[in-house]
Amino acid sequence: MRVLGISGSLRRDSLNRRLLRAAAALLPPGVELVELDPAAIKSLPIYDQDDDTTLVPLEVGVLRQAIEEADGILFATPEYNGSIPGGLKNAIDWASRPVKAAALRNKPVAVVGASPGMFGAVWAQGDLRKALGVAGARVVDRELPVAQADEAFAFDDKLVDEDLELELRGIITDLVEAIHARERAVA
């Protein structure tokens, strides 16, 4: 089983990329987490329906294929101005079309988030879960706000706070169960 990790923050030392690595260390046997190259989000053109034809830009095809090939997705998002980073929203917009065969359609997804502030990107997580739901994804009904995230990780990217780590493990368990449930439904 392969889970795609998508960080809404693209920078090399991103706290949310560290959160994805913390999640990767908690996966049950037989599950791997592959992080989407941030360049796959950075290189996307802004969504334009005129460009959304049978011949989409190459970068769009790469993103859609990466999502289609994953059994599920773990999103880790920061919060920019109280909401989702524009680049991440743009990626969701591309991956939600064409509506009847969208890469995100019925895809099990879960959302976590980290921010250096006091609230752990909780608004962004809410907005991201809303957008993913409208896009047709199968959204795990919980969140993980990691606040003051510049102090939340150990040297090996594990979460220092045991309660947060337990919650992250729970979200992963729910995501894996949603993937299994989908496999049973379409079998």
């Binding site: 509506v99 009847k100 359609r105 019925n106 739901g133 409208v134 047709g136 994804a137 199968r138 959204v139 449930a181 989908r182 439904a185 379409v186």
Partner: protein, 181 residues
């Protein structure tokens, strides 16, 4: 005028749906002020009546939902609403059918999105009519009002000045043309 009183007998036999001339639809209050309607294209139903009693069963393919906007239809199929991948069938089985003249009262169990609840439906039933090719047909209509939130359809959105975009109560309407088989 020979008739005295009204018949309480469901026409005997096994009656199968004519899908082209049957429908299953729904109506729900939208934005407080209006009624929004949609339908399901793929409807199966049969009515069996014999000396032991009568039973109506039906299945609607949730994925066959039709509304005027394609994007909305896909949203309604998604996990936020009917989750048609996980729950492809909406099913109904009557537990009691009672006829009084043209009127029909049906108690039954409705299953949507894996949630089963009893519903009482009211409508009409006809006596058999001989149609083209000597095929005997009857007509059955039923209406029921259900609380969608009990069936796992809990989506809503608050309106800016109070209230919600979508009502909880949904009217279900089936109109069946059934042929004797």
């Amino acid at each position: 005028m020979a008739a005295t009183g009204t018949t309480t007998t469901i026409p005997q036999g096994t009656w199968a749906i004519d899908p082209v001339h049957s429908s299953a639809s729904f109506a729900v209050k939208h934005m407080v002020v209006a009624t929004f309607r949609g339908r399901f294209e793929d409807v199966e139903a049969s009515l069996v009546a014999d000396d032991a009693g009568a039973k109506l069963v039906g299945t609607v393919k949730a994925d066959s939902i039709v509304v005027k906007d394609e994007n909305l239809a896909e949203h309604l199929k998604s996990p936020e609403f009917f989750d048609t991948e996980q729950y492809p069938d909406i099913t109904y089985t009557s537990t009691s059918l009672r006829r009084d003249g043209d009127e029909l009262v049906a108690d039954g169990e409705l299953t949507i999105k894996g949630n089963t609840h009893p519903v009482e439906a009211r409508g009409t039933i006809t006596d058999p009519a001989v149609t083209f090719g000597d095929v005997e047909k009857i007509g059955v209509t039923l209406e029921a009002i259900v609380d969608r939130t009990k069936f796992g359809l809990e989506w809503n959105a608050p309106l800016p000045k109070g209230g919600f975009a979508l009502a909880d109560d949904v009217k279900l309407v089936v109109e069946l043309e059934l042929a004797k088989s």
